[in-house]
Amino acid sequence: MAIPFGPLRYALVAVFAAGLAAPVGAAEIGQIKIAKGQVSIERNGQILPGEVGGRLQPSDVLKTGADGSVGITMSDNTLLSAGPNSILSLDRYVFDSTTQQGQFDASLQKGSLAVISGRIAKQSPDAMKVRTPSSVLGVRGTEFVVSADD
């Protein structure tokens, strides 16, 4: 197929470039390293099992059952781990691996969470926030725990 010169050609090139870039895992932001008991991932309205090795995407919501716990490593080296009966949303995650600038907003809707912050918080201290139903945590570093009771 002959592609005419001009704006359409650029538009087609852009579409192809986006299509090629996507499957390489650009949307993958972290990985489940530890899962015990009942763990699930809610993604685009679907419930998926949260298994060791599972890759995470922005907007994923992790849920643990009464016997569950889950530990994840993000691409900026942030470590997050949630105890039983927890709901953890990865609301927003952006990370540039060259400049290490980024933005990470997570929220613990209920349960317990342990955090070791990574490169995003180190590069700019206001870039990582953890929300609970009653508070907002500005993460300047590095290791802390937070709970949200019903």
Partner: protein, 202 residues
């Protein structure tokens, strides 16, 4: 009658709303800053409404109450009791190895070849390893030049690791250029210790 029901309905609605608001107001939680393994300064700012408590010492803690965050000092015992399960699920910390390069190219030094054995024994400890290869340069040349060189070095190492049997899907190569020198130097200084690739296993 319908009118009466309507009133009852409204009354119920208000009762439900009041209960919900009360539940929100009573929603509580605890935040505890933990000690830092290498003694770096750290802090977490806890904001509730227009009130803020900054936790900056090990075991500095805040509890959310109806009247705002209340600062107190927690203890290892309390942390274990409230957060034991979450802490037990914490993934292992990323481990970093450094390989050095000969000037301006992507061949590494002889000493660095020996470190590779350590990298593979670390990878073997992880059930689902993911590996990040980060290329760095010294401060000779522009950002554009060094970003490309750093990425090329990282990709050389990634290809080599894949050649030795690691799954391509588990390894990412990134370039940091000259932004993170191991040895700080003025721009334009050739420094062998800055020409390196980090292999981060996590």
């Amino acid at each position: 009658m319908i009118r009466l029901l309507d009133h009852v309905g409204r009354g119920l609605g208000i009762a439900v709303l009041t209960a919900l608001l009360a539940a929100c107001a009573h929603q509580t939680g605890t935040v505890v800053l933990l000690p830092e393994k290498d003694g770096r300064n750290t802090a977490v700012a806890v904001r509730q409404g227009d009130q803020e408590v900054v936790l900056a010492e090990p075991y500095a803690a805040a509890r959310q109450t109806t009247s705002g965050p209340r600062a107190y000092t927690s203890s290892p015992q309390e942390v274990q009791a409230l957060f034991g399960a979450a802490l037990a699920a914490q993934p292992s910390r990323p481990t970093s190895f450094t390989l050095y390069f000969n000037e301006g190219g992507d061949a590494f030094t002889d000493a660095s070849r020996l470190i590779l054995a350590d990298v593979f024994s670390e990878i073997a400890k992880h059930p689902v390893p993911d590996i990040v290869v980060v290329g760095h340069t010294d401060r000779v040349g522009s950002d554009v030049f060094n970003d490309a060189l750093a990425l090329r070095r990282a990709e050389t190492v990634r290809t080599m690791l894949i050649g030795r049997g690691l799954s391509p899907a588990s390894i990412v190569a990134v370039g940091r250029g000259k932004r993170e020198p191991l040895v700080p130097t003025p721009d334009g200084v050739a420094e062998p210790r800055n020409r390196r690739v980090e292999i981060i296993v996590r």
